[in-house]
Amino acid sequence: MNLTLKVWRQSGPTDAGRMVTYKVEDVSPDMSFLEMLDVLNERLIVEGDDPVAFDHDCREGICGMCGMVINGVAHGEQRATTTCQLHMRHFEDGATITIEPWRAAPFPVVKDLVVDRSAFDRIIQAGGFVSVPAGSAPDAHSVPVRKEDADSAFDAATCIGCGACVAACPNGSASLFTAAKITHLSLLPQGQPERLTRAKAMVDQMDAEGFGGCTNTGECTAVCPKGIPLDTIARMNSDYLQANKK
């Protein structure tokens, strides 16, 4: 396959940035999207150019490090797939592909396609945990948990924190990410004592980071590589409103 790539290049946080066009030839349909970029980068390095910086690590769809907006869609059009698991066989020979970083004020561009997602860590710091110091836990079987609750909690807990939800949201909202954690812990008995304070603190932190508000458009869940369901946001809202009543 031969492809034309239009890639966002930005040398640093203060650079204005621009789209740059590259040709990539002899792409195998069995390559992953990132391997295709590896091939481009190997060539750029040898030619003395700056390779395209992008985040990636596990390359098996679980670490949440990779992520780029491909042809206008976070992680590309293949559903429930991270960028690293997207393969070139889904593109046409001769196609032009635009590649951009996640765009949101709370995710400033570090370089090219690399963005700073530390805002997510700070949302977790605000309350995305159960306060239980090591060594203080009771026996695991002392509190049974309904299987349905454990399964639903897992569905929310499977979030990989990649930020595609923010990238896709027309409002730049981090609601799906925040709601996933709130829902995960809110569904389990272990999460009950801090349920309301957690929801309030995390939502307030989300606001403080400068993310937009949710308008329930569903763009987030549509691009989410782990398919985090939209009703997590309803649960977050419910916990948040309850917390504010008190």
Binding site: D38, L44, R59, M65, H87, D121, V130, A137, P138, A150
Partner: protein
């Protein structure tokens, strides 16, 4: 490569007496740190996986002043997150005869009698606390309808002691540790440094006193001093370039610590996982593991005839070789990882492999689908089949999967005593980065157990014994400056070469060399060849590598180049270690040491020891042997026939 044999080395920290009392005794004997003093004691933890994340969080909870470092953009991304199968614990919730002693026994035996009994027993003891801790944190383990935790049997174990959270156990456990860590960041006890890479260890007055790091965003070289340093930087499987590790996994932190005096134990012990998706082309950047559970229902086979290139569906039953069932009738497709891997390699070496380059074997679900129905198979393995199809474009319901072994885990690592302290006082090493608990072969679902045992329960106790004598005062400025200068000059050197080959192209070549000569099967000849070739390649690297960009920016090429440079040195030590250990044991198979049936043959008379290597700047490493004694588990030869 030359080496010399040095004095014997011994663990002096494990107490004497009955094995089940040793950890209690050690905990009681360990000096305590006055709570008011903890705040004044600084601890650096490098790495935020299961071991590092849980350790940093727990040390913060105890009141120490912690600095935590990771190279990723968030501590939540460490590669522990990718572990699929589960975590072992001797809870015996099933009443199926499991016990701490049985987990201990299985681990020692599974490790092919190359692990320390005291350590393994403690691991089995602590395993039960891990599950309690994780559940209390809200880790959504699989449950049964009664609301209690579900467990399964894993990796050929005869008891169901593996707790799991679908196929994402590592993720869920890591997020638990990550959340505990972020809680401490919020509490102000832990200071987090993301996108920071450790490039050297500061050793002053015989103690580990800090690290030199590079801020990967600005390129700034920073000094961080402390009273103790904990390395939790994972394994070094990426020395093979292609492995199931994350792309960023590297040996730099432990290798630099090794250069500063920490002994490196059993570097040649690598685990090759039998069920990975095969390489599809030259561009391949990593290998993806398919859960071992697939072997419960899939049948492994290759064509009987060499070079048979018919489509798998066209090959009749009597022209298929279900080789695992043929060679190991008792265990069949469920033989342990090392055995399944080597058998796959053998049939491919015979020219009977399938797929691109003949490097693959079939894992066929046809019979399972016929027997159980497609729905039942989908329920059990649906997500794995989907993942396979996403990567290969082939549908495993119609065509058999192709699998091939891939490097997965490294049992070797920095030598530590019972306290998890290395040979440098004040340098502690935990998780996959140390060598301690798995011997020559790790059992499935034991890596998560060890990482969390070290981080939540063992290290926080033992490090107190060391820190009780602290704070250790000002750090000698000369030592800090020397380490910083070394880091800076190395970066300058890498940038100055300005050759024509990328770091990745060297890494690929090194990886290929290691896979061919120090991979699933090692011979004296192959190892000698590798030991000849590695220095040549390293020389070429330092003369011809091309690192674009500058040191004062985000520069992924520079990061990569530094890591590859360390892989060269490590690769050499691995080959040397593999050459010296002329026996076969666990993940280390020396072709010269096999029985009449081609099975691994241990040599307990000469090799019942840990090989701990001391670095020598002159290139003549010193081998220190730690004799292994088995008081509780009698040494036997493994057999799966």
């Amino acid at each position: 490569m030359k080496f010399v044999e040095g004095s014997e080395i011994r663990d002096t920290r494990a107490p004497e007496g009955p094995i089940e009392e040793r950890w209690e005794k050690r905990k009681f004997a360990a000096k305590l740190v006055n709570p008011a003093n903890k705040r004044k004691l600084n601890v650096i933890v490098v790495g935020t996986g299961l071991a590092g994340g849980s350790a940093a969080a727990t040390l913060g909870e105890l009141g120490y002043n912690v600095k935590s470092f990771c190279y990723q953009d968030s501590p939540r991304r460490a590669h522990s997150i990718a572990a699929q199968g589960g975590i072992n614990a001797a809870k015996n919730y099933r009443g199926d005869g499991d016990s701490i002693y049985r987990l201990f026994y299985d681990t020692v035996k599974g490790g092919d009698f190359r692990a320390r009994e005291s350590n393994v027993y403690r691991l089995a003891q602590v395993s039960v606390n891990i599950i309690d801790q994780a559940v209390a944190q809200g880790v959504p383990f699989a449950r049964e309808y009664g609301g209690l935790l579900d467990t399964r049997s894993f990796g050929g174990a005869q008891v169901s002691r593996t707790f799991y959270a679908r196929g994402q156990t590592g993720q869920q456990l890591l997020l638990g540790a990550y959340q505990a860590l972020e809680r401490q960041v919020a509490a102000g006890t832990v200071q987090m440094f993301t996108r920071h890479e450790m490039l050297d260890l500061i050793v002053a007055d015989g103690r580990a006193r800090g690290i030199i790091v590079r801020d990967m965003v600005t390129g700034e070289i920073e000094r961080h001093v402390a009273d103790a340093v904990v390395l939790a930087t994972g394994g070094y499987g990426n020395v093979f370039f292609l492995s199931t590790n994350a792309k960023g996994c590297n040996t730099t932190a432990i290798w630099r610590a090794h250069e500063r005096g920490a002994y490196f134990a059993n570097p040649c012990y690598t685990q090759i996982h039998p069920t990975c998706i095969p390489v599809s082309g030259e561009y391949q950047s990593k290998l993806t593991l398919m859960s071992e559970s697939l072997r419960n229902d899939g049948r492994v086979w290759v064509p009987l005839r060499k070079g048979d290139d018919r489509a798998p569906g066209d090959i009749p039953e009597d022209e298929r070789d279900y080789y695992l069932e043929r060679i190991y009738p008792a265990f069949g497709n469920l033989v342990p990882r090392d055995i399944a891997s080597r058998a796959a390699k053998n049939v491919c070496d015979e020219g009977r492999g399938v797929g691109p380059g003949g490097l693959g074997v079939y894992l066929d679900f046809r019979d399972a689908i016929n027997r159980l129905g497609r729905d039942a198979v989908e329920k059990k393995y649906g997500n794995l089949f989907e993942m396979y199809e996403r990567i290969t474009g082939e549908n495993p319901y119609d065509v058999p999967m192709r699998i091939y072994p891939a490097v997965h885990y490294t049992m070797g690592g920095l030598w530590v005593d019972y306290d998890l302290q290395s040979t440098i006082p004040g340098l502690f090493v935990i998780g996959e980065a140390n060598f301690s608990d798995h011997g020559a072969n790790r059992l499935g679902a034991s890596a998560l157990m060890q990482g969390l045992a070290d981080g939540y329960f063992v290290l926080p106790t033992t490090i107190g014994d060391y820190l009780a004598a602290g704070p250790f005062g000002e750090v000698d400025e000369e030592a800090v400056a020397e380490a910083e200068l070394k880091v800076r000059s190395r970066i300058e050197r890498l940038l100055a070469v300005n050759g024509t080959r990328t770091p990745d192209s060297f890494h690929r070549e090194l990886g290929r060399l290691m896979w061919d000569h120090c991979g699933m099967e090692r011979t004296e000849e192959s190892l000698r060849k590798a030991l000849e070739r590695i220095p040549e390649l390293r020389k070429e690297f330092w003369e011809n590598v091309k690192v674009s960009g500058t040191a004062e920016e985000l520069n992924q090429v520079l990061e990569k180049a530094g890591r590859v440079a360390d892989f060269f040195d490590l690769a050499e030590l691995m080959c040397l270690d593999a050459l010296v250990r002329t026996e076969s044991c666990g993940g280390h198979f020396r072709a010269e040491s096999q029985d009449a049936d081609g099975e691994a043959l241990r040599d307990d008379e000469h090799f019942a020891h840990v090989s701990a290597w001391e670095y020598s700047p002159e290139g003549v490493p010193v081998l220190h042997k730690e004799p292994l004694e088995y008081e509780y588990v009698k040494m036997t030869q493994r057999s799966y026939k």
